[in-house]
Amino acid sequence: MSTYSDRRLWERALEGQAAAFGELFERHATSVYNYLFRRCGNWATAQDLTSIVFLELWRRRSDISLERESALPLLLGVATNILRNRKRADRRHRAALERMSVPSESWSPHEDVVERLAEEERMHELLGILDRLPKREQDLVVLCVWMELTYEEAADALCLPVGTVASRLSRAKRRLRGLLDPSGQPAPGVLET
């Protein structure tokens, strides 16, 4: 991979260099994949949606200006919108998903099936708790706590002022503490940054 920053790769992609966009995908596919899993709790869905996030980023390129060196906050913001509008996105991207279908000899979805199922079950438990928060707060818990974005990066991802991120996340943490441990003690993991 090149040493270009994401911003430079994005500029090159806009100039018509498809390989630069391919490199952006290679850099961030894993983070986007894990973010999607942590939002939907299903590895197969996360896998399908990963490329869709990049396609959607390209589709909206005229509205997008990459201010930071890293494209990850932007990609996670796009992923958040796709998950929020799943029904619409599914319809729009159905053809793309069909074109992307992978030959079975190159990839077996049954690898590590036991571990994957256990992870999905665990993720569903966590998402069950998270689901008791307003959606806007859920976004921030996953971005800032589980994906370890800074407040500034999360603000970029969700197009919010940094102050709103801070106050909303603080509110979310307070609520989660109440949900996880009525005594008010922070529970490990969900709240620790």
């Binding site: 995908f25 894993t30 396609l55 619409r88 319809r91 793309a96 190159s106 993720m123 490990p188």
Partner: protein, 289 residues
């Protein structure tokens, strides 16, 4: 649950990484080629209509037509503008009144105000052709109001479930949502201009591929300058519905404008009930009109 950590991150499957990267690169190349063909086609069309006009525009620096200030826009710019116009903005009260006319000539009016900032607020009403009026106001704080026009009374309750919603569950059809769906479907295309009630409107049509098998046609007309909705003609399996946007305005979220979202403010003379049973009783015992 033994702890509250999500599972460890997994690498994106290597076999898929290469294959999907290739796919994305080919999509981007194809997309750029398509756009390039479209631009060439536009240039050719302009050429056949009036090459001299193009030359004249070039001499004056291509101002006006391609500069973006005038009402004429090209393809995706209008779609984007139309989408922006129906996308809620922070800190604004969106006020919409729609008159709908169905193919059987029945009409209805739908009017609503919405505020999408925290805490969100929504007020909506639907008037049917039989004269019924239903109106509700809800907000994230849990306040839930219902207004009955016949008895001029309001039922006001606290609904804790509202606090869990990040946006209101809108009673009836959300046409703004449906329009956003149309504009982001990838099937909407600009199809010329026409005048609607003296306004310059851009026609946006839904070009649905024939293989979808649905006989439907949507013509959505937006203000050529602002992209705001003017009219939506929906034709589906012989059933037509025309929606006219009589009012479409974005108001600043001042206390005065937020007052529109409170039924007590809207109907100051109404009797307010907090007990649902008493409200029902008032409705049941009111003389029929």
């Amino acid at each position: 649950m033994h702890d509250h950590q999500p599972p460890e991150q997994r690498a994106f499957p290597a076999a898929l990484l290469h294959q999907q990267k290739e796919y994305l690169m080919s999509e981007i190349t194809r997309d750029r080629q398509t756009r390039s063909r479209r631009s060439r086609s536009l240039v050719l069309r302009i050429g056949t209509v009036g090459a001299l006009a193009v030359i004249a525009l070039a001499i004056v620096g291509l101002s006006g037509v391609f500069g973006g200030d005038g009402p004429m826009t090209i393809g995706p710019m209008t779609i984007d503008k139309a989408l922006a116009a129906v996308t809620p903005a922070q800190g604004e009260v969106l006020h919409i009144r729609i008159t709908g006319v169905d193919s059987d000539a029945s009409t209805f009016v739908q009017e609503n105000w919405s505020y999408s900032d925290e805490p969100w607020k929504y007020r909506g009403m639907t008037e049917t052709s039989s004269g019924g009026l239903q109106e509700v106001a809800i907000e994230a704080s849990g306040l839930h109001q219902v207004y009955d026009a016949r008895t001029n009374s309001i039922l006001e309750m606290q609904d804790k479930t509202l606090a869990n919603l990040t946006e209101p569950k809108v009673p009836g059809e959300s046409y703004e949502e449906m329009i956003r769906e149309l504009l982001t479907s990838g099937l909407a295309q600009e199809d010329g201009q026409e005048q609607v009630n003296g306004r310059d409107a851009v026609r946006i049509v839904e070009k649905r591929p024939a293989e979808d098998g649905e006989r439907s046609e949507n013509v959505y007309l937006v203000d050529a300058e602002t992209g705001q909705p003017i009219e939506w003609r929906i034709m589906n399996e012989g059933e037509n519905r025309t929606l006219r946007f009589d009012i479409y305005e974005k108001l600043p979220g001042t206390p005065e404008n937020l007052g529109f979202l409170d039924l007590r403010v809207a109907y100051p003379s109404a009797t307010v009930y907090t007990d649902p049973a008493a409200f029902e009783q008032a409705l049941a015992t009111a003389p029929a009109e």
